[in-house]
Subunit: 141 residues, 4 copies
C-alpha cells in the first residue's frame, strides 16, 4: 500500500488541563492525515478530488483508536497513514502515531464512505462505487 507520513507539532491549544493532548484533537489530525494520504497518492488536493469525482466527501462510519503514550505541547509527532481495505463504496485507513521518532504512541483505524449528494434529496448523502483510479493509487500500484 501507498504510505504517507507527515509531522504534526502539538500546540498549546491541542492540550487540556492535564497538559496532554485532548484526544478529540487527534481525530482532527487523523482526518487531515487521510486527506493528506489521498493528496499524496493522487497528486492533487482533496478540494480538487471532490470536484473531479463529484462527491461531497468521505464521511466516517467507524473508527477506533488505542492510545499508548500521551503527547504534550511542543512535541512533534509523526503520523503514518495508509489504506488497509477497499469495499464497494467504502475504504479503510490505518494511522500510526510515533513520538520521539520510534515510539508507537497511538494506533487508529477508520472506515469511510465515498459519498455523493443523494440524486433526489440534496439534503442527504449516498455511497458511491469507489473509482478504480482511487483504489489503484492508494494501493501504490
Amino acid at each position: 500500500m501507498f504510505v504517507n507520513r507527515r509531522n504534526v507539532t502539538i500546540e498549546w491549544g491541542d492540550c487540556d488541563p492535564a497538559g496532554i493532548v485532548f484526544y478529540p484533537r487527534y481525530f482532527a489530525m487523523f482526518d487531515a492525515s487521510t486527506a493528506a494520504l489521498f493528496a499524496a497518492a493522487l497528486g492533487y488536493s482533496k478540494y480538487e478530488m471532490l470536484k473531479r469525482f463529484d462527491i461531497v466527501g468521505f464521511p466516517i462510519v467507524d473508527t477506533r483508536a488505542t492510545f499508548h503514550v500521551p503527547s504534550r505541547f511542543g512535541d512533534v509527532i509523526g503520523i503514518e497513514s495508509q489504506a488497509s481495505a477497499f469495499n464497494r463504496s467504502s475504504f479503510e485507513v490505518v494511522h500510526r502515531v510515533f513520538r520521539s521518532g520510534e515510539v508507537l504512541a497511538i494506533e487508529a483505524s477508520e472506515k469511510r464512505v465515498w459519498a455523493a449528494r443523494h440524486p433526489t434529496d440534496p439534503e442527504r448523502i449516498k455511497g458511491q462505487t469507489l473509482p478504480p483510479e482511487i483504489v489503484a493509487r492508494l494501493s501504490g500500484s
Copy 2:
C-alpha cells in the same frame, strides 16, 4: 448501571463543508458526556472530583465509535452515557446518541485510566486504584 442523558444542540461550527458534524466534535461531546455522567452520579463537578481524589483526570486509552446516521447544525441530539466495566485502575463507558428522539445515530465506547501525577516525576501520570465510592456511584448502587 447509573445512566445519564443530556441533550446537545449541534452548532454551525460543529459541522464541516458537507454540512454534517465533523466527527472529532462528537468525541469532544463524549468527553463532556463522561464528565456529566460522573457529575450526575457523584453529585459534584469534575473539577471538584479531581481535587477530592487528587487525580489529574481520566485520560482515554481506547475508544471506538460507529456512526449510523449523520446530524447537521440545528439538530438536537440526545447522548445517553453509562459505565460498562470497572477494572483496577481503569473503567469503561458507553455512549449512545439518539437523533429525532428514537433513532440510534452513534454507538461509542471508551476506556479511561484513573490517573494521578507520577509520585517521583511530575511530568508523567500514573494509574491509581479506582476508589470504591466511584464504582458504587457509577454502578447506581
Copy 3:
C-alpha cells in the same frame, strides 16, 4: 434591542494547560450565541433561516474581544447577546459574558455580512441587502 441570554458550561476540553478556557473556544461560543440570538428573535433555527432567505450564512468581517476574568472547566457562564447596529448588508452584535452571575468576564463585538452565493461564481459569496424582517425582529420591534 432584542436580547438573548444563554448559559454555557465550560468543559474540560475547552481549557488549556493553564486550566483556563483556550480563548478561541469563546469565539465558537459567540458564533453559537449569535445563531441563538437569531433563532430566539425569529422563532426558527439558523438552518431554517438560511433556507428561507437563500443565504449561505453570515460570515464574520470584524471581531474584537476584551477578556477581564478567566473561566475554568466546571464554570457556568452566561452569555448575553444583542444586535448593536444594522448596515445595508451587514450587522453588528455584542456579547457580554458573565461569570458567577454578575461578574462581567468578557466583552465582545462582531460585524457580520448577510451573504449569499455569488450569482455567477458559486465558489464565491456576496453580501445581500439585510431583509427588513431580520432588522425588525432583532430590534425587538
Copy 4:
C-alpha cells in the same frame, strides 16, 4: 521587530458548512503563531520557556481581527507575526494572513499578559514583569 512567518494548510475540519474557515479556528492558528514567534525569537519551545521563566502562559486580554478575504480547505495561508508593543507585564502581537502569496486576507492584533501562578492562591494567575531578555529577543536586538 523580529518577524516570524509560517505557512498553515487549511484543513477540511477547519471549515464550516459555507465551505470557508470557521473563524474561531483562525484564533487557534494565531495562538500557535504567537508561540512560534517566541520559539523562533528565543531559540527554544514555549514548553521550555514556561519552565525557564516559571510562568503558566501568556493568556490573552484583548484581541481584534479584521477579515478581508475568506479561505477554504486546501488553501495554504502564510501568517506573519511580530511583537508590536511591550508594557510592564504585557505585550502586543500583530498577525497578518496572506492568501495566494500576496493577498492580505486577515489583520489581527492581540494583547497578552506574562502570567505566573498567584503566590498565595494557586487557583489564580498574576501578571509578572516581562523579562528584558524576552523584550530584547522579540525586538530583534
